[in-house]
């Protein structure tokens, strides 16, 4: 069975969608992604350009306004659902990892709390 597009998101995809929770233009997205990931994830302009086109094609984001060549985007309902799904998937993996790999009861409880309240590490409410 062929894999559905955006069934799972890569790190750059995940952070780009997260940064488009608020309306944002292309260039600022790169800065926002760096900020959200604490400098860990960097998206090049070429990759960003290609991903934005892909997201638009898949109705994950929509263009809100344009000034010359500068375009602003925002995440759509569909994009939000994919983002939440990915977040829960990562949480599930982290929870299983905490139980299986770390063996630390406190870490497991922390993960359970996160899972129950649905909050990300940066306090973004999903």
């Amino acid at each position: 069975m062929p894999r559905e597009q955006f069934q799972s998101l890569t790190e750059p995809m995940y952070y780009i969608l997260m940064s488009l929770q608020d309306e944002c233009c292309g260039v600022d997205i790169m800065e926002k992604v760096r900020g959200l990931s604490g400098g860990r994830v960097q998206v090049g302009p070429g990759t960003l350009y290609a991903l934005l086109a892909k997201f638009q094609e898949g109705d994950m984001i929509e263009e809100t306004r344009q000034e010359g060549r500068k375009k602003w985007y925002r995440i759509t309902e569909k994009g939000n659902d994919s983002l939440k799904k990915e977040y829960r998937r990562i949480l599930a993996m982290a929870r299983d990892g905490a139980a299986g790999l770390e063996g630390d009861r406190d870490a497991v409880l922390e993960m359970e709390k996160l899972w129950d309240f649905g909050r990300s590490g940066n306090g973004v409410l999903l």
Binding site: V27, M30, V43, G44, P45, G46, T47, Y49, A50
Partner: protein
């Protein structure tokens, strides 16, 4: 490519423009810069460099601190003076997809052009088989322009094959790098330099070959008609080239192709009519052997042949036939020269007597011609021997024998079917091969005398061992 541009920038040569494999640099102070070549997945090869997608992409990159240099279709070249800048492509899988898509299209297109060129010239082989293919190859070797065409066909075919192979190898290497979480490279620097040098060497060889095979020979022979044709050709070629270069950024349009084809057709018409327009005559036929007409005539071979009763045969008829209708052509190239002669008797086929004399300083070419001349379907070997230093091999060709149906039809009409056999002798020595073909006239014609006379004639050629 990126490495090459960075090295050039460090030496003080900054990239200004790129057209295919030809780069334009401008002198600047040496800089330690970072270059990046990006491939856009969704730009077609028919689009000009000034397309919407390229412009949007350039805007994104320039906003991120990159400087745009030039673009050619899907390929974008940018630079930055900050070596720690975030790379343009940070997702290796997406980068690989884009490069793979464009690389595949380009490799397929190059192969298609190579195969198309070959088919355009050799398509009769599909109908006529290997024999016709051999004839077409021979005709390419016999003229300088043919050698030039052969060189171009070989380059396009080899280039197409090399493109397909390198694409497949690159795909495997890229997949392997991806699985090992390593960057996907376009091409190693060494491979890039080899390809770059190979393409430039080919262009240089093409120019040199063109000068040697066409221009120099034409000037030496004072063939003004051909020189004028060349001039017309180059004017139209450069005109179409300059026009297409000026439209490069706009991309392909069907009207440009139509304009180009119209220019080519006008050129071909002009070249065809150049004799009447400028009152020019084509260069006269001449032999490079004796300068006084064909190397060999019927009357030289058949005259004085005696029948069983000791009477001479063929003498007058041969002379009449030769003087009546005959054609003599000459081909000369840097690889192979040939002189051909045919008689056209009125009541029989055109192949009553013919010869072709080949000369080449290249053993491989002579061997090829020898194989073509001897390995014809329907030829039966009829012995071989040495006449001094000339090696003679005889064949008979019985394709002239009428079929059963024709015999039956002839018998019904009361005719006696005639057995038609042709004799072929291939004489070889040094740089020459002489192939003579004539209709067997029966017992009155001595094959040994005919071959012996041909051998005597051949011994007078310069360079015979």
């Amino acid at each position: 490519m990126e490495c090459f541009f960075e090295k050039m920038a460090a030496r003080g040569w900054m990239l200004r423009d790129a057209r295919g494999s030809f780069w334009g640099f401008e002198r600047q102070t040496p800089k330690d810069v970072k270059f990046s070549v990006a491939i856009l997945k969704d730009v077609s090869m028919w689009e000009g460099s000034e397309n919407e997608e390229s412009r949007n992409f350039q805007f994104y990159c320039e906003s991120a601190g990159w400087h745009f240099v030039c673009a050619e279709k899907c390929r974008q070249i940018l630079w930055s003076d900050n070596r720690d800048i975030v790379p343009i492509e940070t997702d290796e899988e997406m980068k690989m997809e884009a490069v793979k898509t464009q690389y595949r299209k380009q490799a397929a297109f190059t192969m298609f052009v190579g195969v198309l060129w070959t088919l355009i010239y050799f398509w009769p082989v599909l109908a006529g088989g290997a024999e016709l293919g051999g004839y077409l190859m021979k005709s390419l070797l016999e003229s300088n322009a043919g050698i030039l065409v052969l060189f171009c066909i070989l380059y396009l075919l080899l280039g197409g094959l090399a493109g397909i192979v390198s694409y497949l190898v690159w795909c495997q290497m890229a997949k392997r790098n991806l699985s090992r979480k390593m960057p996907v490279l376009y091409r190693p620097y060494s491979v890039f330099m080899v390809k770059d040098i190979a393409e430039k060497v080919f262009c240089l060889l093409l120019v040199v070959l063109f000068y040697i095979t066409v221009v120099r020979v034409t000037v030496q022979e004072r063939d003004w008609r051909t020189l004028t044709n060349l001039l017309v050709f180059f004017i139209v070629f450069w005109g179409v080239s300059l026009f297409s270069q000026s439209r490069r950024k706009k991309g392909f349009r069907w009207r440009y192709l139509a304009a180009g084809m119209a220019a080519v057709m006008i050129m071909m018409f002009g070249m065809y009519k150049i004799d009447t327009i400028f009152d020019m005559e084509s260069s006269g036929e001449d032999t490079w052997m004796t300068g006084n007409g064909p190397f060999l005539k019927c009357s030289e071979l058949f005259a004085g042949n005696k029948n069983a009763e000791g009477e001479e045969t063929e003498k007058k008829e041969a002379e009449d036939r030769e003087e009546g209708r005959s054609v003599h052509t000459r081909n000369a190239s840097i690889l192979l020269e040939s002189e051909s002669y045919n008689t056209f008797p009125s009541e029989i086929c055109r192949e009553d007597f013919s010869y072709t004399l080949y000369k080449s300083r290249y053993k491989a070419v002579l061997n090829y011609i020898r194989k073509l001349s001897e390995n014809r379907p329907g030829y039966e070997e009829d012995g071989d021997y040495w006449d001094g230093s000339i090696y003679i091999r005889r064949y008979s060709d019985q394709r002239g024998i009428p079929t059963e149906q024709e015999t039956a039809d002839g018998a019904a009409a009361g005719d006696v079917p005639a057995e038609v056999i042709y004799r072929i002798s291939v004489l070889r020595n040094g740089p020459y091969i002489l192939v003579i073909r004539y209709k067997d006239q029966g017992p009155g014609l001595s094959k040994e005398i005919v071959d012996s006379r041909a051998a005597d004639k051949m011994k007078r050629l310069p360079g015979i061992l």
